[in-house]
Symmetry: C2
C-alpha cells in the first residue's frame, strides 16, 4: 500500500472564514492514483505545530502534502516551519528568484520584486523545485513532503502537474444505491463483509433525497473480489448502480 497524509495549514479554516477545498481535490486525485490518504489535519499558521505535524506525517506516510502558508505576508510561515522540521537552513533560491524576475518583467511590470515577493523564494536548503507550466509559484519538495499553496486553483493545477509521481495498485470501486434504510440492511452487509475481508464495504445514508436512502461503497485492490461482493450486496439490498 502506498500511503499519504495531508496537512492543511490555515487559521482561516479553523475559524470558519474559508472552507477547505484542497483536501477533497487531493483525496480524489490520490484515490485515482491508487494512493491511500490516511490522515488529514488542519492546524493553525504556527511554526512549531506545523514542524511537529510534518515530521510525524513524514515518518508515517509515503507522501505528505501541505497546503497553505507560502505567500508573501507575515502570516505565511510554512517554509520556515518546514526548515525547522528537518533542521535545514534557509536561503534565497537563485533559480526561483530568476523565474520571479522573468515573470515580473514579462507579465507584471507594475508588481516590483520587493522584499515581500522575494520571501516566496526564501526556501529551506537543499530542496527540490518543480515548475508547473504557466505558474510562477514553485512547488517545493523536501524529501517526501510536497509543499503546495492554499489558493485552490493553484493547488489543483500543481497537483495535476505532479500526480504521476504518486502511484499505488489500482483501487477498484463500485457504488450501489438503495431505497432501504441502513437498519434494514446492516445484517446482510455484515455477512458480505465477513465473506470478503479484503473488500472495504462502507454504508453512507443520505437524508432528503428521492433517489436513494443509502449509498454503499465497495473498494479494494482485488478487482474480482470487489465485483463479486458488489453483486451480493446489490441483490441483498435490492440496490442499483448509477450509469
Amino acid at each position: 500500500v502506498v500511503s499519504a497524509s495531508a496537512l492543511i495549514i490555515g487559521d482561516e479554516i479553523l475559524s470558519g472564514k474559508i472552507q477547505d477545498e484542497n483536501s477533497l481535490v487531493l483525496a480524489r486525485t490520490l484515490f485515482e492514483q491508487g494512493v491511500r490518504l490516511t490522515r488529514i489535519e488542519v492546524i493553525p499558521d504556527d511554526i512549531d505545530k506545523i514542524a511537529s505535524c510534518v515530521r510525524q506525517m513524514s515518518k508515517e506516510s509515503d507522501f505528505v502534502f501541505t497546503s497553505g502558508g507560502i505567500g508573501p505576508t507575515h502570516d505565511d510561515k510554512t517554509y520556515e516551519a518546514l526548515a525547522k522540521a528537518f533542521g535545514l537552513k534557509m536561503s534565497y533560491h537563485p533559480e526561483t528568484l530568476r523565474g520571479f524576475v522573468e515573470y515580473q518583467t514579462l507579465y507584471a511590470p507594475d508588481k516590483p520584486l520587493n522584499e515581500a515577493r522575494k520571501k516566496m523564494a526564501f526556501l529551506p536548503e537543499p530542496c527540490e523545485i518543480i515548475h508547473t507550466e504557466g505558474l510562477w509559484v514553485p512547488l517545493v519538495v523536501l524529501g517526501n513532503v510536497y509543499i503546495l499553496p492554499g489558493v485552490p486553483s493553484l493547488f489543483a493545477r500543481m497537483l495535476e502537474g505532479v500526480k504521476h509521481r504518486f502511484k499505488g495498485p489500482a483501487i477498484e470501486r463500485v457504488l450501489i444505491y438503495t431505497q432501504k434504510s441502513e437498519g434494514d440492511i446492516a445484517a446482510e452487509l455484515e455477512a458480505v463483509q465477513n465473506a470478503f475481508p479484503q473488500v472495504a464495504i462502507g454504508s453512507y445514508p443520505k437524508y432528503g433525497l428521492p433517489e436513494y436512502m443509502v449509498m454503499l461503497s465497495l473498494e479494494g485492490t482485488d478487482k474480482e473480489a470487489v465485483h463479486e461482493a458488489a453483486r451480493l450486496v446489490e441483490a441483498a439490498v435490492e440496490g442499483y448502480r448509477k450509469l
Copy 2:
C-alpha cells in the same frame, strides 16, 4: 482561551467520495461562541486510530467533537472506539432503547427495532445523553468529548441544540477587502501586526474575482485593539468593508 478539537471519522472523506461539511459548521459555530478550534483531524473508521486520537485531543482541548461512525452498520465503530479510549465497558442504554421503541411505534412501524438498530443504543458506560428536540439519535457525551453523527443535517441540528455549553470570551472580527495584491501590502500589514500583537491579522488572496484581490481578517478578544488595527490596515491597503 477556551479551545476545541474536531475528529472527523470517515473512510468516505479520505477516499474523496464525500466532502466533509461538518467541520465548517463546527468552526463557524465555535467561533461565534468564542471558542478556538485548534485542530481538525480526518481519520479512517479504525478503532485504534480513533481511540488514540480522541485520547490525545481530550487532553489537549477543553472540548472535543467527533463526527461519524455511530450508525447501525458494521463500519460504524465510534462508540466502541471511545469505550476503548477511556477504558469503559459498553452496555445497552435503557433510556435510549426506550426512546427508540417509542419513536418506532409512533413514526416508523415498518422499521423494526432489530439488532442493527439496537446497536445505536449500545454505548460506553457511564455516559451522559443529551436529547435533541425532534431527533431520536442520542448525543452521547463522555467527559469533554461530544459524539455527533456524520450526516450533516443531524450534525448541525445537534450542535445547535447543545452549543450554549461552549462559551469563551467574544472574538471580535473585522474583514477588509482590497484590490491591491499581497506582495504590495505585506510590509504595511506586518507593521500593523507588530504594533498589535494581540490582534491576529490574516491575509487571504482570492483569484478571479472582480470585487477584490485580497481579504484581510483582524481578530481578537481585545475589541478596541481589533478596531484600531483595522482602521490602520484599511487606510494602508486602500481597503473597504462589506456591509
